[in-house]
Amino acid sequence: MADKHHETPMLDELEKGPWPSFVSGIKRLRDQHENERIRGMANSLLGQLEHSYETRKGYWKGGTVSVYGYGGGIIPRFSEVGHAFPESKEFHTLRVQPPASNMYTTKILRQLADSWEKYGSGLQTFHGQTGNIMFIGTDTENTQHFFDEINSYGFDLGGAGPCVRTGMSCVGGARCEMSCCSEQVIHRKLLNNFTDDVHRPALPYKFKFKISGCPNDCQNAIERSDFAVIGTWRDEMQIDQDEVKNYVQTKGREYIIENVINRCPTNAICLNDDDTITVKDHECVRCMHCLNVMPKALHPGMDKGVTILIGGKRTLKIGDLMGTVVVPFMKLETEEDYDRLVELAEEVIDFWAENGLEHERCGEMIERIGLVNFLEGIGVDVDPNMVNHPRQVSYIRMDGWDEEAEKWYRRKLEEKHQAAG
């Protein structure tokens, strides 16, 4: 190429300042890459982006591109101003599923970079907001070649369209003492049970799994996923009283009272006269605050498991929704436990696939039909942990009260028997 660069006076402003500049990165591809195709693509891309900056408009439109055998996973991009910026006129993004919890060796990153350089623009993101590795910018033909190559060494596409989407899991057990479950294992068990639903969009709308190892919810699962799995525990918090005393000594009693004791949402924790701590475990809501402040002294209990919340989503169409507790606690240790988790996910997706309207997220469906109908649909019993408080409005027909009350007592009795072994 004759190296005639598009002028980019506005983008050049984004090369200034201390934060690493993506514009400088694209320019490096334009100026220094040995491959002429990549240099040209970067030049064109910068030209179109500058045009967007000048006119305050976007110039990509969608279309249909997929790889052989799949219906989704590619975000097609065709330029509306391709005549002016021909070398990036097709600029599709491949959504590729990362290893659970975004762990990589530099070796595999280099391998991915080598493949992408062969077929794509040389631009990628770790990761998109849904959690995919986004390989940004290639044409229709190379979409297939790139996929074939990375698929042969263990990478697969994520979802796009009305389908199960790529999942996300926190670093959790790999490096975090708060972790109450095996995030990476849960992630793969769930996602890889639904590969068909990832690759062939046929659901009412998108469906996302996210896994956080504890209620700190670093993966934003409650707000951002249809199926949130959050680690928790149900026995006593583990307390190292010597470490508690250390904290009191180094930070001061007042600090501990102000920052730990007074901030507990349920007043479940108190500082004793001898500078030890007592937690009223039945009143503790596992909010994590005190553990976050004193990670050396306080640890999750031993009887670990997960809470499952269903139906989180963002604005479109009825407004943002948080997930709702559907399973307050579930053990996840044996194969059977994991099977039960996967079965639950299948029940939820099947019921929603049948009853959800087109373009209706699972949470919107629950909003429309009511939680009770949803629970009956997936075969889960009601539980007071599912509500902030019971009903406030008397306008409901309650002639099934006696049977329902009976069910509750029977269930409680069974639980007692089970607990007794």
Binding site: S21, R56, Q97, P98, Y104, N151, T166, H299
Partner: protein, 357 residues
């Protein structure tokens, strides 16, 4: 096609353990505690006694292969060839030898990356795609974030905030960027301009009609051809009709604005998770550096830093001081647009005499 097509291997999500640093693998679910020796560095200690130092750095997120390889070189030289990316696209290197921490930090900083983003810092702004590669954006994403992080870099490098601050951006009202302690999102202010010539060709009209949250779209005949019309009195300018129907042109160089929202918090710590709330709007969409939006973000951060107690996230702080005081200390106007009228809005009204004077 002449050549036979290759059948995909539906392997799904790859196993993480093969890519995990051996010290993480060895101590899987056996970590005991962590502390925070300095901004940008975490130390985790396992029950086995093994220790790992994590060094976190911010990047431009849209990585060119040169930058990616540079990160790999640093990883090979200092961190045994293993890395981890956080939810907000920060990169983390794990080392088992404390003596490597400082050289690693130096190598990262020398290469132009910024070490920080841990604990009570303002961490990397999570962002979406924008003009670079989305088909519906009202603004850019990478550019907004770059310009803003230039201004907030010291807050990334240090831990001077009462608690962590998660900022997000979104370049349309779909808001891929999600909830944030502070969220900077596109807000359209005029109904879509319909390109009637195109509607007939490209749009599945019933699905566009169904998409509108306020039923403002009707099928109509325009110049004898099937098209759509928008009841502009009803239209809330949300842009939801634009993705399924590109002729519903919602983006406008002048009337597409930015809004700022605060108090979105994903964590269950202390209070239950919260959605962010509108605090400022009508902010010009002003490339290449969006100074007006950044100025407001900095004002909010300053007030938060001065007013909040340790461990209070922005939502906790406002909960304590109350909204009237928030608008006072940030010197932002409170308008009729702050009063919710969407479903469930009455729950957001004050039905008490709880008023701070």
């Amino acid at each position: 096609m002449a050549t036979e097509m290759r059948e995909p291997i539906e392997s799904g999500c790859p196993d993480a353990f093969q890519y995990m640093h051996p010290v993480l693998r060895r101590n899987y679910r056996q970590w005991k505690w962590h502390d925070h020796p300095r901004p940008g560095v975490l130390r985790h200690v396992a029950y086995s006694g093994e220790t790992v130092w994590t060094v976190k750095a911010g990047t431009q997120r849209i990585l060119d292969v040169f930058t990616l390889r540079k990160l790999c070189d640093i990883g090979d030289q200092y961190a045994d060839g293993y890395v981890h990316f956080t939810l907000r696209s920060n990169i983390e290197f794990m080392v088992t030898d404390e003596a490597k921490v400082e050289p690693l930090i130096k190598a990262l900083e020398d290469a132009g990356f910024v070490v920080g983003g841990t604990a009570n810092s303002v961490t990397m702004i999570s962002h979406t795609q924008g003009w670079l590669h989305c088909d519906i954006p009202g603004t850019d994403a990478s550019g907004v974030v770059k310009a803003m992080m230039d201004e907030l870099v010291d807050e990334f490098r240090n831990c001077n905030m009462p608690n962590r601050v998660h900022i997000t951006t979104s370049c349309c009202q779909i808001n891929c960027g999600g909830q944030g302690d502070i969220a900077i999102n596109v807000q359209h202010t005029k109904p879509p301009k319909i390109n009637h010539d195109l509607v007939g060709n490209v749009c599945e009209r019933p699905s566009v009609v169904a998409r509108c949250p306020v039923a403002a779209i009707r099928p109509a005949l325009v110049n004898g051809k099937p098209s759509l019309e928008v009841d502009e009195k009803k239209c809330i300018c949300c842009g939801a009709c634009f993705p399924p129907c590109p002729p519903m042109q919602i983006n406008d160089a002048e009337h597409t604005k930015l809004s700022i929202w605060v108090g979105g918090n994903h964590s269950n710590a202390r209070s239950k998770p919260t959605f962010h709330k509108l605090v400022a709007s009508g902010i010009p969409n002003n490339p290449p550096r969006w100074p007006e939006a950044t100025a407001i973000v900095k004002r909010i951060l300053k007030a938060y830093k001065e007013g909040a107690k340790d461990w209070e996230r922005i939502n906790d702080w406002i909960e304590r001081i109350g909204w009237p005081r928030f608008f006072e200390v940030t010197n932002l106007p409170f308008t009729k647009y702050h009063v919710d009228n969407w479903k469930g809005a009455r729950n957001s009204l004050n039905a008490s005499t709880h008023i701070r004077f």
